[in-house]
Symmetry: C2
């Protein structure tokens, strides 16, 4: 799916993939930043815990955002595709100033929400300026091309190391992988780009958010890093020649490891040290 | 330590880091290629099993190289620094047409062989054209700056994720990491380069060899890949600003994943698809 068209004179909202396991007890840098982008004290946040099989996942985020001072938090648990067509729930998405999708199994998100009025409402909301974030599975689903599964623990790309599925489609500029450091997913992210180097790979560590601004600049917040893989200048990929578990030859990728303060512009494909750059004296 | 000076009109020998767990029962592509570079049927190979605590490590390689048709295989087990000064054993290094260093604990290699006549003889042999290879710990020790330890399972570089020690010093152009895919060592290889981007990182997968030619072109053989990390154009590294387990921001690295057939020139820093490039019709 593709992003909804942004109306003339409007700006798209922020897109916030979080790598999972974000801090919920300390200073909550990642969730706090998301909360501010939803409007802070005036925020009305819709939480979608559909990916999770745990009963209290939605309640946990409801409590967190309420404690931060949100005006309203609605937990919208879609368990079936029929749920995702219910007018009342869709309206709550339409009225939210921020939408948060929890972790769990991303195939639950794509199979239950894909192609429903809820998915359309999320895209439309983002196109008119609403912040949409997600953690873990909720991060993976945000882009047009979602990594649905594949190898973990593997920095070398292999022909069969990644499986795609269509995602919510808020952006088609990025392919997102999460728990990046913790589950060693460089190989499958590289394999994802080997298929089509158009997208930019974002490997998001746990307790870390890749905050994608309305102008498509990635800002990083949290205790880990966002690994940006840019295959735009790829000299060569053997993806079309290999199959099975054979390693894929990929020459000429640019890699940037961004920590909090650094930025990456998805339009110009330029990384910047941002606030990390030494101040000139 | 630095490489021995290559005499005028001479060529340095091949340097062959292998990522560990190379095939010893099938077609043995990696060991067979090493054997050919030692002279094939006429080869006289010195095997150094010092890194290993297993009694039969040396015997195993002796048998393999003998079955391939080597004229002579000598297993030289140095257990103490005194062993590494014994004239008779040093002479066997001097007479070999190929030297192979087995896996095990690379700190045994650096602490027992470092600074001894054996280490000097290995460097001198390579400078006069003798092929020197090693697997796993035996690969790590080959370069001037050896990764002595650090994090595995971590694609994000962290301030404390790598510890260096001086190696045998056959090349100061590369920093070698082994079991690369299998133990997820991108983070520590990146951290190694963050300290000083002069070196080129070679992450060698298991059952894979990075064959560094006398002209410093890396050729790949085996079932895995060699991940080349080139930090020469590094825009920014926060290594000097962070400490402890904090992630390091590194912007502007080039990464190439080379499979068998592809090459990388350590002098020009250019990757090539080599024999993998589609033939023009």
């Amino acid at each position: 799916m593709c992003p909804s068209r942004v109306a003339d004179g409007c700006k798209r909202g922020w897109i916030v993939p979080i790598g999972g396991a974000e801090d919920k007890q300390g200073d909550m840098r990642v969730l706090q930043r998301f909360f501010e982008l939803c409007g802070g004290k005036g925020a009305e946040i819709a939480v979608i815990p559909t990916a999770s099989r745990l009963n209290d996942t939605g309640d946990r985020y409801e409590q967190l955002f309420a404690e931060m001072g949100a005006r309203k938090v609605s937990v919208l648990d879609f368990d079936t595709r029929r749920d995702a067509r219910e007018r009342n729930r869709v309206q709550q998405i339409e009225q939210a100033s921020g939408i948060f999708i929890t972790g769990g199994n991303q195939l639950r998100l794509s199979t239950i929400l894909g192609g429903t009025p809820v998915a359309q409402a999320i895209r439309a909301a983002n196109a008119k300026g609403v912040t949409v974030g997600g953690t873990s599975a909720g991060a993976g689903i945000l882009s047009a091309h979602m990594i649905a599964g594949g190898d973990s623990d593997n920095p070398t790309p292999r022909a069969d190391s990644v499986r795609f599925a269509p995602g919510l489609g808020l952006s088609n500029r990025v392919v997102i992988d999460q728990h990046f450091r913790q589950r060693d997913r460089l190989g499958r992210l590289l394999a994802a780009l080997a298929y089509n180097p158009f997208s930019i790979g974002l490997g998001v560590d746990e307790d870390t958010g890749a905050f994608i601004s309305p102008d498509n600049v990635v800002e990083v917040e949290g205790s880990g890093a966002v690994t940006v893989v840019d295959a735009d200048d790829l000299q060569f990929s053997s993806m079309a020649q290999v199959d099975g578990h054979a390693p894929v030859c990929m020459l000429g990728m640019q890699v940037h490891v961004l920590t909090a303060g650094a930025t990456y512009d998805l339009e110009t494909r330029r990384a910047s040290a941002g606030t990390l750059a030494p101040v000139k004296e």
